[in-house]
């Protein structure tokens, strides 16, 4: 017997109708979704039980027997938010998942200035290391999932936004390719970590996948939300450098010692009398504001959400800022009684960035504090500049600048105009059609386009002394276009027969990427100097880059099978092709399998007071990486690159462009990662304590690697080829505890822990024990501080071992003769040794949330242990860096007092510091008002401190340095923010 049941689903949050809620007859695949007003109609069997589920809300099961109307209020719940998780090409109930994945919503994420989606994930998920590269507004972040999985190829995870895998290739004018997405529009993040979860993304999945879902239309009546904030930011710390008085005192000491090359009494007279604190001169208190308005509701049958966001973020480095206007539109209409679901999604943004001149950061540390900012020079815009000495003892303010000298930091900022405008549109249409005659089958078409266009300039005034070398002035115009087109077709078959539950997906995917641009540079008098070509009229015009297109084409499939809700199996495959490889290497199949056992469903566990949930998972799978960095779209093919006009050669009286054969490896192919994962998900004491433990091993082989090739065998000294293996092994633990849960007080604590070991296991085709490894970590001028070698983590520091005297002070130039060869220790590379690495051994994330009546409080921090940093700022702290015989002075970091070195000691292990740290990333407090002025207006005001404080023994500016080489990064700032949320 069938019965018809109707009803309305409301959100427990605010009693507004919920559209798009899944309504399923339990144990069948018979289901529907609620319409825009939250109503549903379903025909079910007599004794049916209905299951109501919706992302972000706790599922509910209600017996339908004898009912005709069933209204349900779904309550949002932190744990319940995870009940339905988004996976590749679909979604799954959390309990059915066999892979390792983590799902979070912004409610659990970081607060503060979040100019890009990555920022919210910092310290939140075990196994996912996110850190901002520096403190520049709109700056990029680095995400590493389960360690460093590649060497030359990209190590970034694949990011999928609303079903669209985005191209994260950098584009000129936008420092963070994801900055175009407004974090306020994000509904949830799902991070896929093990191969069982990622293998469906095949060739792009070996560094993990992050799936971002944006907010969709919600309820019947329009709901208007406003989030706004104002914040002020300041530098947390300056580098401790000598003052003008200190350096003058030091100078007279050095002069009397006479040990400094070329530093004479005459030269000393060219020192100034000022006491300029250059770091104070270049930084400012930055004021930022952020506004977001969202309207969400349903117009007739059309659920919609439209939001507009505006961010204006000032940087603490003067002249730098980031402005973004963003528009996010999601339309999710449903037709044919829910058999045809359409989802139209558009994310548009307009970003304006002012990059300033970040060279000022280092220049401010190095600039002579005895000189003033301004000296009234008429030729150099009034700024002091290092010029050739007018006489042995004096400077002519208007002389020719010394081109090798440090540039006036304030002039660098004020005489530079370095801005960009970037438009990005990411749109896709997804249509799901359930076959009326075979409702277990759903067909999906997902088509979209991601288009970014940028335009910018980096100019300097003609009277900028720092442009003198190139003839005075600078005009650089650049453009960029990144385009990506996507078509996915897939079918899903879901069926439950008795105790067997099947969910099968088969599909096809096509994605094409095009990248293009130009970079046209001239000096101030337009005597052209870079990247131009000459048009028919003989005029210089921008030279268009050789575009870098590539196509990915795939067939994929997945089977989820569950028996008795206890034994779960997932099998997936992806047959992938990339245009980057030759025909014989183009296609490859990536398989994966996962199994899980829900122990808590076993009869011997029923009635357990301790375990509310217990699931053991195991998976193994293979994924790949095809993202060869570099500009050559066909690294397997013999191609020629045409020169620019500045690299021509003269025959007779005319100039000829040149054709260069490009290095290539005809057998180049993808790199392969095999990953095994064993995990345990558990809930204790009615889920008061939930957690996950995973151990994994990732073996990457056939690394896409740039290795030195035999001279004469190819068209460069390095060739991108497949050689080398590396292993990442690790443990991840996540714990969430509801410490207190009463009517008035709720207190949650979350802890996550990550341990990852990275080791290179093979680097050459043949095993050569004398091989020196791959030099990395370039310091310029043919100096490399890091090295990749078999038996060590990637980018281990390669240094000489410093000798210390009885007082514990480093002895200048004295290093341990580790090879025992005698002689000059620094003359032999064999005396260097491998000493620590930039990656942390242990990462802890801690966060807590307390709600007490109308108050809420949130705190989040990170502990990183065992990460080391080479301080390339402190290497400059040597006396010979104080005076250059070409006629200019520098300041020295105060750390020179610790070493008292006279000359540069680049390769001393003294400069490799333990940079373990604890950072309190966020402290936030809020107060909510239910009825502000009117019944309908709800409000929350909040106060947030971002980057509240950090604790470290590291003596540099900031211990968080992504590549392990501290080179005067744009400082991260401490932010105080006042926010208001209004809901109407």
């Amino acid at each position: 017997q069938n019965q018809i049941i109707r009803g309305k689903i409301l959100s427990g949050d605010d009693n507004t109708p919920l559209p798009g809620v899944n309504v399923l007859e339990k144990g069948t695949l018979n289901g529907t979704v609620t319409n825009g007003e939250g109503f549903y109609t379903i025909t079910v069997g007599t004794n049916a039980t209905l299951v109501f589920s919706f992302v972000g809300y706790a599922s509910q099961e209600v017996a339908a027997a004898g009912q005709t109307t069933l209204d349900v209020v779904l309550s949002p719940d932190v744990q319940a938010l995870n009940e339905i998780v988004v996976v590749g090409y679909g979604q799954q109930e959390k309990k059915d998942v066999t892979g390792s994945l983590a799902s979070v919503t912004p409610r659990d994420l970081n607060k503060g200035i979040m100019s890009s989606p990555q920022d919210m994930l910092i310290g939140k998920i075990a196994g996912v290391q996110v850190s901002t590269n520096d403190g520049a507004p709109g700056g990029a972040s680095t995400i590493r999932i389960r360690g460093n999985g590649s060497i030359q190829a990209s190590q970034d995870p694949l990011i999928v936004i609303d079903g669209f895998p985005v191209d994260n290739t950098a584009i000129g004018g936008l420092s963070n390719s994801l900055a175009a997405i407004n974090p306020n529009d994000i509904e949830s993040y799902t991070v896929l970590k093990d191969a069982s979860a990622t293998a469906i993304y095949g060739l792009r999945a070996s560094n993990g996948v992050i799936i971002i879902t944006t907010k969709k239309g919600k309820n019947g009546k329009p709901q208007i939300t406003y989030n706004g904030s104002v914040s002020v930011a300041n530098a947390m710390k300056y580098i401790d450098v000598l003052s003008g008085d200190e350096i003058r005192a030091k100078a007279s000491e050095l002069l009397s010692e006479g040990k400094l090359s070329g530093f004479t009494a005459d030269a000393a007279k060219r020192q100034g009398t000022a006491n300029t604190d250059w770091q104070k001169e270049i930084y400012q208190t930055a004021v930022s504001h952020d506004h977001n308005i969202g309207v969400s509701g349903t117009y007739k049958v059309l659920p919609y959400r439209v939001s507009y966001g505006y961010t204006d973020q000032e940087g603490i480095l003067k002249t730098t800022d980031f402005k973004r206007s963003s528009l996010n539109v999601n339309l999710t209409p449903s037709f044919l009684d829910g058999d045809l679901d359409v989802s139209v999604s558009f994310k548009g943004s307009y970003t304006q960035q002012n990059f300033g001149n970040t060279g000022a950061v280092g220049a401010a540390v190095a600039y002579d504090p005895t000189q003033p900012v301004y000296n009234g020079s008429t030729r150099w815009g009034g700024y002091f500049a290092w010029v050739g000495p007018a006489s042995a003892t004096t400077l002519d303010p208007n002389g020719d600048p010394i081109t090798l000298a440090t540039s006036n930091p304030v002039a660098l900022l004020m005489q530079t105009d370095n801005r960009s405008n970037v438009y990005r549109g990411l749109g896709n249409v997804k249509v799901d059609y359930r076959l009326p005659f075979l409702p277990a089958v759903k067909l999906t078409v997902n088509a979209g386009m991601d288009y970014t266009t940028s335009k910018g300039h980096n100019n300097a005034t003609n009277d900028a002394a720092f442009t003198f070398a190139n003839g005075g002035g600078q005009r650089i115009d650049y453009t960029g276009i990144n385009k990506s087109r996507l078509l996915d077709l897939y079918a899903n078959y879901a069926k439950e027969i008795d105790n067997h539950k099947f969910d099968v997906t088969l599909g096809y995917s096509y994605q094409r990427f095009d990248r293009d641009g130009s970079n046209f540079g001239r000096n101030g008098n337009e005597s052209v100097y870079t990247d131009y070509q000459t048009n028919a009229e003989g005029k210089a015009v921008p030279r268009q880059f050789v575009s870098n297109p590539n196509v990915l084409l795939s067939f994929f499939g997945r089977v989820n099978y569950a028996f008795n809700e206890k034994y779960l199996v997932t099998l997936s495959f992806r047959d992938d092709a990339s245009s980057r490889f030759a025909k014989q290497n183009r296609w490859v199949v990536f398989p994966a399998a996962g199994v899980a056992w829900r122990i808590s469903k076993e009869s011997f566990m029923t009635g357990s007071k301790v375990f509310s949930d217990l699931k053991l998972r195991a998976s193994y799978g293979v994924t790949g990486q095809q993202d060869v960095s570099g500009n050559n779209p066909y690294p397997y093919l013999s191609t020629y690159q045409l020169s620019s006009s500045t690299s021509q050669y003269q025959f007779g009286n005319s100039f000829t462009n040149t054709y260069r054969p490009q290095p290539y490896d005809a057998n180049l192919k993808w790199e392969t990662t095999g990953q095994a994962d064993i995990g345990l998900d558990f809930g204790l004491l009615e889920d008061k304590l939930t957690g996950t433990i995973d151990v994994y091993q990732r073996n990457t082989s056939n690394l896409i690697n740039s290795i030195p090739v035999a001279a004469g065998s190819n068209f460069s000294n390095y060739l991108i080829t497949n050689v080398g293996n590396l292993v990442n092994k690790g443990i991840e633990v996540t714990l969430n505890a509801k410490v207190v849960q009463t009517k008035n007080l709720e207190w949650n604590v979350g802890v996550n822990y990550t341990h990852n070991d990275n080791e290179v296991t093979k680097l050459l085709k043949t095993d050569d024990p004398t091989y020196a490894g791959i030099a990395t970590g370039s310091l310029g001028l043919q100096k490399n501080i890091q090295n990749i070698q078999v038996g060590y983590p990637i980018n281990t520091f390669l240094v000489y071992q410093q000798v210390y005297n009885a007082e514990g002070k480093p002895v200048e130039g004295l290093y341990v003769d580790r090879s025992g060869q005698g002689g000059d220790v620094t003359a032999s590379e064999n005396n260097k040794y491998r000493y620590h690495k930039p990656q942390p051994d242990h990462l802890f994330g801690v966060n807590t949330r307390v709600n007490y009546k109308k108050f809420d409080f949130y705190m989040s921090g990170r502990l990183s242990l065992g990460n080391y940093v080479y301080n390339n700022v402190f290497t400059g702290a040597n006396y010979s860096n104080f005076y250059y015989s070409t006629g200019y002075f520098n300041n020295l970091p105060a750390s020179v007092n610790d070493t008292q070195f006279y000359s540069l000691q680049t390769f001393s292990d003294y400069y490799v510091y333990n940079a373990s740290f604890f950072k309190m990333d966020n402290i936030s407090m809020g107060y909510s008002v239910d009825k502000l002025f009117t019944q309908k207006l709800k409000a929350r005001i909040s106060f947030t401190v971002q980057n509240a404080f950090f604790i470290t023994k590291y003596k540099g500016l900031d211990p968080e340095v992504n590549n392990g080489i501290d080179n005067n990064l744009y400082p991260r700032s401490r932010v105080f923010m006042l926010g208001v949320n209004l809901t109407y």
């Binding site: 010394i402 052209v528 196509v551 779209p633 009286n653 001279a711 004469g712 050569d768």
Partner: protein, 504 residues
């Protein structure tokens, strides 16, 4: 859709080797790369799209690397900055197989040979008269780089157009085989190359004769067999072509308009607008400026304060002021003769030989970026031919005369002194005099190391100069350092190579 994966459907953005060469103009672009590989870092001057990885866009340029190896180990140059890549050991003669300045030259040289091989393959069998000439020029440039390999390394890897590019290990050659190969290649293409000075900047018969002369003059070094007669034969072809003459003013050869000098036989062309580089002449000019020298006087915007000469070199001139011999191009104001500290630019006399201005003192003709220069590097010039002739005759070669040898030497001295007051007599002309005369005439033109080896003076203790052997007064060094080591990196990458020279 599957066909979308093929390059043909991805658009004509990259040129595949299959469709690169259609017209002679296409071939000319391929040929131009071979020449430009001596002077630029890569395809987007001055510093982008570099031909090589992991080498500085300045240090890694062919002509700069070649200059470093030919000049820094000698009395002609001391470098200021203590670059940790190992530039000081070049002067101290304490370099090792991991020295990155040595590997920069080695890498560049072998890369140019690879480029030449590719072009030789591509242009093989063409019946077009121009393309046939290009083909011969490519073989000449390959022979030139192999000559550098013979002179600097002795036992380099050996690849020709028959070796298809890939990831293989080229086999190692030795001086005897390489000498014979270069010799036979030059003989084979002599009639294919253009007539002397048919087009400025192109390798012509004059360039070929000069390279032959160099090979034969140093044959005793390379294969322990004298070839002075063959040297004179080749040089006589240069003289009888009638296309070359000494420039009236010695300094014209080192100015921005030196393309007008009738003396230059084979230049490496530079242009501040169209051939931008931090290597080559840009480096030589910037590098010579430091102390109280004013960059603008040299037609550039800055000095890099890098290279000076040793007092032993200055002593080659009785009067270092330049008033007597114009070739004494020293800057002495604020500079001291003795080098107490290698790291102090003002220790040692600075050099003023090269200027990015016209001989008349006008600005560089290209009007390009003043960080770069228009001076072409005189790889081979007539004065060198004169001195090689004199030396070959003095060393017993036949086909030349002592009278002619003396006339040639005095022609150079007359030009240098402005009159006959510096002329020498036949009694004064001996091989030792020629060596010193070569130093005076050819300072910093990349000949010195080879010359000192020919005279047995580069290593050992017979001739010492400031900081040879890493002591101020100079100490004896080991003879094996007459050849540079095969870089350790290539020994690791190429399983067919071994370090033949005992000592490294």
């Amino acid at each position: 859709c599957v066909s979308d994966l093929d390059p043909e459907s991805l658009g004509p953005n990259s040129v595949t080797s299959a469709d690169a060469y259609k017209t002679p103009a296409d071939y000319k672009m391929g040929l131009a790369k071979l020449y430009s590989s001596y002077v630029v870092a890569g395809q987007v001057g001055p510093g982008e799209a570099s031909d090589i990885s992991n080498l500085d866009v300045g240090f890694g340029v062919y002509l700069r690397a070649y200059w470093n190896l030919q000049e820094l180990p000698t009395d002609e140059a001391v470098y200021t900055w203590a670059e940790d890549g190992g530039i000081r050991p070049l002067h101290w003669q304490t370099w090792t197989a991991t020295n990155s300045f040595i590997s920069a030259m080695y890498t560049r040289m072998m890369l140019t040979i690879s480029y030449c091989n590719e072009f030789i393959r591509a242009s093989q069998g063409s019946t077009d008269a121009d393309v046939k000439k290009f083909h011969a020029e490519a073989r000449f440039l390959r022979a030139l780089s192999y000559y550098h390999a013979l002179d600097l390394f002795g036992y380099p890897p050996f690849v020709t157009e028959t070796d298809i590019p890939g990831a293989f290990s080229p086999k190692q050659t030795n001086p005897e085989e390489l000498f014979a190969y270069i010799d036979s290649e030059l003989t084979a293409i002599e009639n294919e190359l253009g007539e002397p000075r048919f087009e400025y900047g192109r390798a012509d018969k004059g360039a070929l004769w000069m390279l032959q002369a160099k090979l034969y003059l140093n044959a005793e070094t390379y294969i322990k067999s004298p070839r002075y007669t063959e040297c004179i034969t080749a040089l006589n072809k240069v003289f009888t072509s009638g296309k070359y003459a000494l420039a009236a003013n010695y300094l014209l050869n080192f100015r921005a308009d030196n393309n007008t000098s009738p003396e230059i036989i084979f230049p490496i062309n530079h242009d501040a607008k169209n051939t931008q580089t931090y290597g080559g002449m840009s480096f030589i000019v910037h590098g010579q400026i430091g102390g109280s020298m004013v960059p603008a006087d040299f037609g550039v915007n800055g000095g890099w304060a890098q290279n000076r000469v040793t007092p032993e070199f200055v002593a080659k001139f009785a009067d270092p002021s330049g008033a007597t011999d114009v070739r004494a191009q020293f800057y002495t104001s604020g500079q001291q003769l003795e080098i107490n500290d290698v790291g102090t630019f003002t220790d040692g006399y600075a050099v003023t030989k090269f200027k990015n201005k016209t001989l008349a003192g006008g600005p560089a003709p290209s009007g390009g970026n003043p960080d770069f220069v228009d001076i072409d590097f005189p790889m081979f010039r007539l004065a060198d031919a004169y001195l090689m002739y004199a030396e070959a005759v003095l060393r017993g070669g036949t086909g030349g005369t002592a009278t002619q040898a003396l006339d040639f030497v005095n022609a150079l001295r007359t030009r240098a002194y402005g009159n006959a007051s510096g002329n020498i007599t036949s009694g004064q002309l001996n091989t030792a005099f020629v060596l010193d005369e070569r130093a005076r005439e050819l300072l910093w033109e990349c000949h010195r190391r080879t010359d000192l080896i020919r005279y047995g003076l580069l290593t050992g203790g017979t001739y010492l100069w400031n900081w040879k052997g890493n002591t101020k007064a100079g100490t004896a060094t080991e003879a094996f350092r007459n050849l540079f080591p095969i870089p350790a990196s290539d020994l690791a990458a190429n399983t067919n190579l071994r370090q033949v020279v005992i000592g490294y």
